[in-house]
């Protein structure tokens, strides 16, 4: 492995260094060093930033700001982020969570990116030196992005409004067959007033289940009333095939798991 690491004290300087070919940002290293160990020679230089703000979690006024270097272990144990703990704990085993960062998860190709699925359902904002973009835009353009992500922000969901499910074959830490995150707001009569549903492993990156979202509006969360949403879940998806599951299998089981999530019938 011929790699060299450069540490910068500011994001600005690191961003400049990142423009050189063969250079990548080092988050927790769980994907980028794994690739290097496997013989990927497209990376010869790594850069990182020592700025402490990148590792900070800030919560105020119902909003959360996670620095890009915050680890998924730190998210999982933060008392004010308890609603997100299931999504953070879905990533790898304990050592991986101690290393894997929120920023790195945004770049993780399927079958990874479980936490990014949660961020997509939360309609998070991705922040870099150049400004802010909605997470959906960020995910669509991430391959062409050569700028350091510094943080993500989002409104903290009400406890009952956010749901997350990772489906895997090996418990407790297998790789995803698929993952689903949903932000649901219900009116006082129990009907769905707004819905954002995000899917992992149903494309090469986290995606929205827009048809299912639409079909839920004005419906109660009962088996009969969610049926059209469940039937529409696969619209627009192109699931990945990997050693964990085929594209066909993922498409086949998505409605089952979405139904369970909406009816709160998840067995952990």
């Amino acid at each position: 492995m011929t790699l060299a690491l450069q540490t910068f004290s500011t994001v600005k300087d690191a961003n400049a260094a990142l423009q050189a070919s063969g250079t990548r940002y080092l988050g927790g290293g769980t994907l980028v060093l794994r690739a290097a160990n496997e013989g990927d020679v497209s990376v010869s230089r790594l850069v990182r930033v020592s700025e402490p703000s990148l590792s900070q979690i800030g919560i105020s006024g119902g909003k959360a700001r996670l620095g890009a270097s915050v680890t998924l272990a730190a998210v999982a144990r933060h008392p004010e982020l308890a609603v997100l703990a299931p999504a953070a704990r879905a990533v790898g085993g304990p050592a991986i969570r101690n290393m894997a960062t929120v920023g790195g998860n945004l770049f993780a190709p399927a079958p990874y990116g479980d936490f990014a699925v949660a961020l997509l359902a939360l309609d998070a904002t991705v922040i870099g030196e150049g400004g802010e973009v909605p997470v959906e835009t960020f995910l669509a353009e991430r391959e062409s992005s050569r700028a350091i992500v510094t943080a993500v922000t989002f409104a903290l969901p009400p406890e009952k409004g956010f749901r997350f499910l990772k489906v895997s074959r090996v418990k407790p830490k297998g790789i995803s067959v698929l993952s689903i995150a949903a932000m649901l707001q219900q009116a006082s009569d129990g009907t769905v007033a707004s819905a954002r549903i995000a899917l992992g492993c149903m494309a090469d990156r986290p995606m929205r289940a827009r048809a299912a979202e639409q079909a839920l509006l004005g419906r109660k969360l009962t088996a009969d009333e969610i049926a059209p949403a469940v039937a529409a879940a696969g619209e627009g998806t192109s699931p990945i095939t990997d050693p964990i599951a085929s594209s066909w299998y993922r498409a086949e089981v998505l409605p089952v798991h979405l139904g369970r999530l909406l009816l709160n019938q998840i067995k952990v």
Binding site: M1, T2, L3, A4, L5, L26, G28, G29, T30, L33, R34, A36, N37, E38, L46, R48, A73, G92, G93, P94, A95, I96, N98, M99, P172, K173
Partner: protein
């Protein structure tokens, strides 16, 4: 290749080395410093055999660059025995036949140590969760889980 200085404490002793930039901590420990207790199984983050404790947290030394550990306190299985007396986890692994080829053992013991440091009386489920990033090809896991539970009981008896 640029050499970079790295300084950290390893099992309580100061270490200072020059390593090639980009060297994994696993390689620095084994090849430079001579602590061969962390094992290189997959170099992919999957097997956990290379697990070490860095500043109190379980980490994979195959995916950690040595130069990012400047100033850190690193613990490996080689540092657990005191004055020739095995650590309760090491004793329990031997007594419970929780080692066969022994390749996974140092990583298992590091993962178990972090668990017991934070959760002295873990449930079986806590143990399973804590070891979920570590693969064993030999034991079928049950003796390992039992060994960790036994070590926890021994610890709490010693503390009482």
């Amino acid at each position: 290749m640029a050499k970079v200085p790295v300084q950290f404490t390893l099992n309580g002793s100061e270490k200072a080395e020059f390593v090639d930039s980009g060297t994994a901590l696993l390689n620095a420990l084994r090849d430079k410093i001579g602590d061969t207790s962390p094992k290189g199984g997959c170099h992919q983050g999957t097997c956990g055999a290379c697990s070490v404790i860095i500043d109190g947290e379980l980490r994979l030394s195959c995916l950690t660059l040595a130069e990012t550990c400047n100033g850190a306190a690193i613990i490996t299985t080689a540092g657990l025995a005191e004055a020739g007396v095995l650590h309760p986890l090491q004793r329990a692994f031997l007594d419970a036949f929780a080692t066969q080829c022994g390749f996974c053992t140092p990583g298992m013991i590091m993962a178990a140590k972090v668990l017991l440091d934070r959760t002295p009386n873990p449930s079986r489920q806590d143990v399973v969760e804590a070891l979920s990033g570590n693969i064993c090809r030999c034991t079928g896991y049950e003796p390992i889980i039992q060994a960790v539970l036994t070590a926890a009981r021994t610890n709490s008896q010693n503390a009482a």
